[in-house]
Point group: C2
Chain length 228, copies 2
């Protein structure tokens, strides 16, 4: 259960102030499947970084399962992120000097699994996103869409209860993008995982049951008429 109230994010650049988020209030219930849309620069990634506990707002509140995230210590926040949230970055953010499989294993390093169990889980997740045979490639030995899928596999491997994905199909052809969306749908329907994803493609947004539209740092439309 996600609740944000009056979320504001201000960046100062010299003598100007940029309100990347200008007062966002909304709730996302457990098990929802939400698409976030809006023009380039409208605040979507900034909002996702707040939800994913990767950044703190300038003001406003964020309650995750009733816990005020703003009041948590750095360690507690990192633990929350690692255990309950799977985050797919718009820019993938893979470690360049680490192979695909090692990138995917990263989130599992502190959850008590053995090296063998981590390797097995990572292999299975990479196969699920269609990357078997690419496990030992480094990011610069992978196509754009393959790097994106490594980032997706890394977000899924710890079986998170929340998936936040920022343009997860932006570098994927239609068929591969559809395969990824079916993974998200299956996790949402079978395991009740909450999915919030940013997209600018209407056919990707069509997989969601709710569409939130950003403009200039605010939510200007919240459309729940979608059929998932």
């Amino acid at each position: 259960m996600i609740e944000v109230r009056d979320l504001v994010k201000v960046y100062s650049l010299g003598d100007t102030e940029l309100r990347a988020l200008d007062g966002v209030s909304l709730t996302v219930g457990d098990g929802e499947f939400v698409a976030v849309m809006g023009a380039s620069g409208s605040g979507k990634s900034t909002f996702m970084n707040m939800l994913g506990c990767l950044d703190r707002p300038t003001s406003g509140e964020y309650l995750l399962d009733g816990v005020a995230v703003g009041g948590l210590s750095k360690d507690r926040l990192a633990e929350l992120r690692n255990r309950t949230i799977g985050f797919v970055f718009q820019g993938f953010n893979l470690l360049a000097r680490t192979s695909a499989i090692e990138n995917v294993e990263l989130p599992m390093l502190y959850n008590g699994m053995s090296a063998g169990q981590r390797r097995e889980k990572a292999m299975a997740t990479l196969a699920e996103v269609g990357l078997e045979g690419r496990e030992h490639h480094f990011p610069n030995q992978l196509s754009g869409g393959q790097q994106q899928r490594v980032a997706i596999a890394r977000a899924l491997v710890n079986s998170p209860s929340l998936i936040f994905a920022d343009e997860p199909t932006g570098n994927l052809d239609t068929k591969t993008g559809g395969e990824i969306m079916r993974i998200f749908c299956r996790l949402n329907e079978d395991k009740g995982i909450t999915v919030v994803l940013v997209t600018h493609e209407l056919d990707i947004a069509g997989y969601a049951r709710r569409r939130i539209h950003f403009r200039d740092g605010r939510v200007v439309e919240d459309d729940r008429s979608g059929g998932g």
Copy 2:
């Protein structure tokens, strides 16, 4: 005029061999507007890097305006790239410690323009892609789509005769993507600039008059029925 014959690119990984390009032969005439499509990992970026003189094939020939590119010295190649080719990378490839406007000015550093002329041209090109007000931001102070537009502006600023763009609208909402495509169309129609762009979106491919489809490192379809 672009002519490639039996272009092959092989990557060796340990004891396996990956044929990223497996014999590509085609011609692109001056002033054409071509869309390159195909599944993730099918060889599109590898092909674009060959065309953009950023990489050399394992075997095969590439003739650019009748000149065999493979036989050129490093210096001559760099000069060719800088003067005649505008390249938009799939991953943007902006310099992280350099502002947007300085990133855009880079290709102009060796063409004899004064600093004032470079600044003026860069400002105008940034405005054209909708980024006025963002000139002094650094890449990490820009949204994904804004970074992409800086990469596009940088490719256009030297008035190249060839534009190679790898997923130029992948991080742009539909409206902003349309604005970028109209820039490419105008350059193609008014100035006769040859445009080759990779996309996985059919409505973007619809701006082109020819669609080339890749699969497993080969061209499997070359469709000239498109109405630009």
